[in-house]
Amino acid sequence: MSLSPVEGVALAEIESDPDASTPAAKGVVGRSPGQLAWLRLRRDRTAVVSGVLLVFFLLLGLAAPLIEMVYGIGPREQFQNLLDGFGMPLGYAGGVTGEHWFGLEPGLGRDIFIRLIYGLRTSLFIAFAAALITATIGVVLGALAGYLGGWLDAVINWITDLTLAMPFLIIALALTPTITLRFYGERGQVSSAFGVGVLIAVFAIFGWTSTARLVRGQVIALREREFVEAARASGAGLGHMLFRQLLPNIWAPILVSFSLAVPQFITSEAALSFIGVGLSDETPSFGRMIYRSLDFLQTDPAYVFFPGIMIFALVFAFNLFGDALRDALDPKSSR
């Protein structure tokens, strides 16, 4: 039997229910911490609304090719005939019509709505992949540093400091063309999948530090507890100690930091494509669209609002949900 507090079941519902004046009559229901958190999450209105919004965004991103079929316009199609002599879309608000819901891009005349849908798909994919990879690296390094301590802790700490000291945007900016050049040479046509891969790799190199710090702190706090000592005394190996004894007790903060990392990567991806790294203009992306729209601020102000509001809504929903998740997992927090 394990002494780990997670595996024991919380005996009764902690929150008092005003209706149940005689709790004994209803019987004491045993609920695991996970179930309790789920209950709290479902009762939280913000969590439900932002959660539904997130699912909606995910579905939009996943169903992008389907939406393209229904909508009838592809992300690379150009409608030059709907632009005036200066390359500005005809009509109101950047050429919004029943056919082109969000109007057209000035200059190239591509449909903004379908480009946003595909941009959402790229953005979500990159953010989730990067968050998963960085969480894994961070958890392993942080747990090792916290549990083993000593020189390993010092080395990992120092590498963390080093990574934090590197200016992320500039290095990413300089590194991506170099990596691409190494694989493709001077003239090669870079596929968009490769651009996405390079971006994820760059995020993985620089993004793991905060999770590592968090996990290290948590593991240090747990290291001297009785159940850890008991497991160690019965001869548990390193892998068992880390993944069976320690990690199940700190999954809550890891989950929260994961859910807050996703919007950060969405933001970083947009920022990188804003300054022109990684994704080529062929791949639809929020950052790239906003960068292009800055040139048309005076002539076509509607162009900046569609991608700007879209990315705000996405990040906002993620942030709200992450906060609600934290509240649900940690009832003591007084945010």
Binding site: W158, D161, L162, L164, A165, M166, P167, L169, I170, I171, L173, A174, L175, P177, T178, L181, R182, P263, T267, A270, A271, F274, I275, G276, G287, I290, Y291, S293, L294, L297, Q298, P301, V304, G308, I311, F312, V315, F316, N319, L320, S333, S334, R335
Partner: protein
């Protein structure tokens, strides 16, 4: 105290050394031939070879690195093609701008400083103030307003806020000139009016994060025993909140602020691109686009110096702010 400072400075130097080696390897040793980007397609082989020699690219990597480092500490001779003698913080010669890199940096660094320092003062005052007020007035409409403000600000993107600000104040209302940099010593009014939008955009987004953090910290501190003791022994409320509680609550804020300000001083790439101001960040972006290796190297190093120095400063501040912290 002195021993702590020595230890901290030593590890900071070590970090900077590692950053310099890493960036040097990354940019000078990677396959891309730095010379081919300097001179465009139709360059004859002799000239290419000469440039390569001038840059010392034919020497072994270690001596290249040693030469670069020696240049920073004591200055060195770069040869007539690169402007001859290059004085003490010598960061090399850029073939793209035909200028010593240290001159470029000396020109653009004040720009970034003028953006970041006023913005940082604004965002710290606004953020911490808002966080404190909303913690003290917990549950009121003021608190809810502050929470809404910080949630919105934390999800907005600088380039979007910047674009909207430009659209409203510059293009539609015509209240402000198109953002640009003028030295504060030449014309302070023009300096401020050219940069105020950048300050506002940065301050809005950052203060949102600080308001949230300091509110949470303040709430936690207010429930601690020493705050109750201070109230119980008859201290006035402003004194308890302003001196006792704030000092304890603000330490994590200082940590984040150190990282943020240090990072921003190394170049506010997005801000500078959005408002079209040529600071350290834009210079770095331009250098990357044109393959200007010495300038890239210099901007990365300077950014790292700011981050590392800010970290040391934060550790020192800790001891002054929170008397419970002892430096070892």
């Amino acid at each position: 105290m002195a021993r702590f400072l020595l230890k901290r400075l030593f590890s900071a130097t070590l970090t900077l050394f590692a950053v310099s080696v890493l960036t040097f390897l990354m940019f000078f040793a990677l396959p891309r031939d730095p010379v081919s980007s300097i001179c465009s397609k139709n360059c004859n082989p002799e000239r290419l070879e000469r440039v390569r020699d001038d840059l010392g690219l034919n020497d072994p990597l270690i001596s290249q690195y040693a030469g670069y480092m020696k240049g920073i500490v004591t200055g060195r001779d770069l040869g007539s093609a690169q402007g001859g003698r290059c004085d003490a913080p010598c960061l090399g010669w850029s073939y793209v701008t035909n200028e010593a890199v240290s001159d470029t940096i000396a020109r653009v660094l004040p720009v970034t400083l003028s953006i970041v320092i006023p913005a940082a003062i604004l965002w710290l005052l606004l953020g911490v103030g808002l966080g404190m007020v909303s913690a003290l007035r917990r549950g009121t409409w003021l608190d809810r307003l502050a929470i809404g403000f910080s949630l919105t600000g934390a999800s907005l993107q600088l380039y979007f806020v910047g674009a909207v600000l430009l659209l409203v104040f510059v293009y539609n209302l015509r209240l402000l000139p198109v953002p640009s940099y003028t030295s504060i010593f030449d014309n302070p009014a023009k300096w401020a009016s050219g940069l105020v939008l950048a300050w506002v955009a940065l301050a809005f987004l950052f203060s949102a994060i600080y308001a949230r953090l300091s509110r949470a910290q303040m709430l936690e501190t207010l429930s601690e025993d020493f705050v109750r003791t201070a109230r119980a022994k008859g201290l006035a409320k402003p004194k308890v909140y302003g001196r006792h509680a704030l000092r304890a609550a603000i330490t994590p804020v200082v940590t984040i602020a150190g990282l943020d300000v240090g990072g921003a001083l190394g170049g506010t790439v997005i801000t500078e691109t959005t408002f079209g101001i040529q600071g350290l960040g834009r210079t770095a972006v331009d250098a990357v686009r044109s393959g200007d290796l010495p300038t890239i190297m210099a901007t990365v190093l300077i950014a790292a110096v700011f981050v590392v120095l800010a970290n040391v400063l934060v550790d020192l501040l800790y001891a002054t702010i929170d008397p419970r912290v002892r430096l070892r």
